[in-house]
């Protein structure tokens, strides 16, 4: 025993202690407490009762209301992910093909918004696309539309704003892969007789897939749990899981139900991320093993 202890280097233990303590105490403990809370019951006049039951989960699964919100959240997240792929992947390629100083400049345009508060960026969309926003006013002034296009409080509105907010992550993810690519590979394809379209489809795209996959996992997870953007654009008319949790916690005060919703959201995000990851690994492992 003493020999074992003598052989055990205390340094790593001491070095990892501060971070370990903080994360253990202030991350794991609150999450465990939240898990416990989700099995409590609640009513306005009795408050949170110290029982352990599945009531909240039964309520969530048994109620079409919650199901609809979960489905809507998934739909919005999936569409936002698709949008970021359709916009982000080509743009990443275009950025990589640029020369100095344009590349640096437009990299700033593409990635810089990450440093700007989500609230500000979403506010921009509200100002731009509200029914008296810049776009609607311009379109109506031009006589192209008679009625303002509905954007606020719609799924499309939330989806587009989310895609805008999360695009940088997709671009980063695809660019990271692009940076590792051998530029000659594209030339090789041309030299072998393939045109631009074939080269893109058969050579560039397959190599980008791991980046697109990784980006999709990040974007989907963040879109599914996004709060600020759906709250501002969707309002109360278009609830997603995150805004529902917010309402349960801060308006209805049903913390146990809110906790159950939060844990379900967490679980879904994890399952989708891990599932996607597995899929990606099995698909790309041979290539990069």
């Amino acid at each position: 025993m003493t020999r074992f202890l003598r052989r055990l280097d205390p340094a790593p233990l001491l070095l990892s202690l501060p971070a370990g303590l903080i994360l253990g105490l202030f991350l794991l403990l609150p999450l465990l407490a939240t898990a416990l809370l989700s099995f409590r019951s609640y009513s306005l006049y009795t408050g949170i009762e110290p029982v352990l039951e599945l009531g909240n989960y039964l309520e969530i699964f048994g109620d079409g209301y919650f199901l609809e919100i979960f489905l809507r959240t998934a739909r919005i997240a999936a569409l936002a992910t698709l949008l970021t792929i359709l916009i982000g992947a080509p743009e990443a390629i275009i950025l990589m093909r640029m020369r100095a100083p344009w590349r640096g400049l437009f990299l700033l345009v593409a990635l810089g918004p990450l440093l700007i508060s989500v609230v500000s960026r979403t506010l921009g969309w509200a100002l731009l696309l509200g029914s008296t926003g810049v776009v609607n006013t311009a379109l109506m002034a031009a006589g192209l539309i008679a009625e303002p296009i509905r954007f606020m409080y719609t799924e499309w509105g939330v989806t587009v704003a989310l895609a805008h907010v999360l695009l940088p992550f997709m671009i980063i993810s695809v660019m990271t892969v692009l940076q590792r690519l051998d530029p000659q590979v594209e030339n090789a394809s041309h030299a072998l007789g393939a045109g631009g379209v074939t080269t893109f489809r058969r050579v560039i795209l397959p190599q980008l897939l791991p980046g697109i996959f990784a980006g999709s996992i990040i974007v989907f997870a963040m879109a599914a749990s996004a709060f600020a953007t759906p709250q501002i654009i969707g309002g109360r008319r278009l609830k997603v899981v995150a805004t529902l949790i917010y309402d349960e916690y801060l308006f209805s005060l049903n913390w146990p139900l809110g906790a159950a919703l939060a844990l379900l959201l967490f679980a879904i995000v994890i399952v989708v991320a891990v599932g996607f990851n597995r899929l990606a690994e099995s698909r790309f492992a041979r290539m990069y093993g």
Partner: protein, 344 residues
């Protein structure tokens, strides 16, 4: 601001300002928007100048205020809560408010502003009806909404806001609709049915924030909503073509109430502030700026100022009240039903 300080001095509040300045801070939770703006720009500075007490205000609608009080119950950080009667009676029932000494003004306070428990007091009443954009109605040749049933008219599809059930405006309107359809607080089914069948279809957004609703009017996103006299007055005074129709089936009354919150260290300054708030002078300030019907009999308004304001017991009596005990008992169930069936 100066004038209020002068008024206070003359209103016998000199005794307050004579107290040793403790530079205590009190925390108030109440509605945002125009009420918050007025409190912060005029009333708080006057009180601070007079007493040395600093005030921190956090805004939220009544439901949010109640939620915050409950959430912080073990470690209460709010000294004063301002809410509508519904949430206020809930707060009292939940023991969130402590006994309130308003003996200074008690004799002059209208009965409708007093609580049986004596734990809260009204500081302004407003009427609830149907607000509409007069210009838009004229342009489109829409009929003036004289009945609550106008909300069911699909002419207004996508042009209407109905405030959600955790907002007193929405709650009272739903009760009224249930009543018209043959129900009432004891039978809300007709109300929910009408809501689901026709009204919800017309609704652009269940917007709880009245400030946000005011903007939606200004943006032209919305032309009709259930709204209160004070909110309409604030917007109309900005020159916006809006008016409030009191439907023929009767308009509803909403009372803005205030209570001193049960805290570990009960600050006397909290009670002082509440008394300050219901003093005639401040009551007049509230009426002039927000269109609150004064709850202090000594508050005097000119005829022009009283325009659209429920001023005096006669005007208030015309407005219909609800049995808050019943409402509060049922409210949780209604809320559930609301979010599931209507606001989804």
């Amino acid at each position: 601001m100066k004038s209020i300080a002068a008024l206070m001095a003359s209103a016998g509040l000199a005794s307050l300002s004579a107290l040793p300045a403790l530079a205590e801070t009190i925390y108030i939770a109440g509605n945002g928007g125009s009420q918050e703006a007025l409190l912060k720009s005029e009333i708080f500075p006057a009180f601070t100048e007079a007493t040395g007490t600093e005030i921190v205000y956090s805004a939220g609608n009544s439901a949010a205020v109640l939620a915050r009080l409950l959430a912080q119950q073990d470690n209460q950080q709010t000294d004063i809560a301002m809410m509508n009667t519904g949430p206020m009676s809930q707060a009292i029932e939940l023991g969130l408010c402590r006994d309130l000494d308003i003996s200074e003004h008690e004799a002059n306070i209208h009965d409708f502003a007093k609580f049986d428990s004596g734990k809260a007091v009204g500081f302004g009443v407003v009427g609830l009806g149907i607000a509409y954009n007069t210009e838009a109605f004229e342009e489109n040749g829409w009929p003036v909404p004289t009945s609550w049933t106008a909300l069911e008219d699909d002419t207004f599809k996508g042009k209407m806001v109905f405030q959600p059930l955790n907002n007193t405006n929405g709650l009272l309107a739903l009760i009224k609709i249930a009543e018209i359809k043959g129900g009432g607080v004891d039978n809300m089914d007709p109300g929910f049915e009408a809501m689901e069948a026709s009204i919800a279809e017309n609704v652009l957004s269940f917007e709880p924030s009245s400030a946000r609703l005011a903007e939606m009017y200004q943006n032209g996103e919305v032309d009709i909503s259930v709204w209160s006299s004070t909110q309409v007055k604030v917007l109309a005074e900005k020159g916006f073509p809006i008016t409030l129709s009191y439907p023929e089936e009767g308009a509803m009354i909403i009372s803005n109430d205030v209570c001193a919150v049960t805290t570990e260290a009960m600050k006397p300054e909290a009670v002082e502030f509440i008394n300050f708030l219901i003093s005639p002078e401040i009551q007049e300030v509230l009426s002039r700026n927000l269109g609150f019907g004064p709850t202090n009999k000594l508050a005097e308004l000119t005829e022009a100022e009283a325009e659209g304001v429920p001023y005096g017991p006669e005007a208030v009596d015309k407005l219909q009240n609800v049995d808050w005990d019943v409402v509060n008992r049922e409210r949780e169930a209604w809320d559930r039903r609301w979010v599931r069936e209507i606001e989804r």
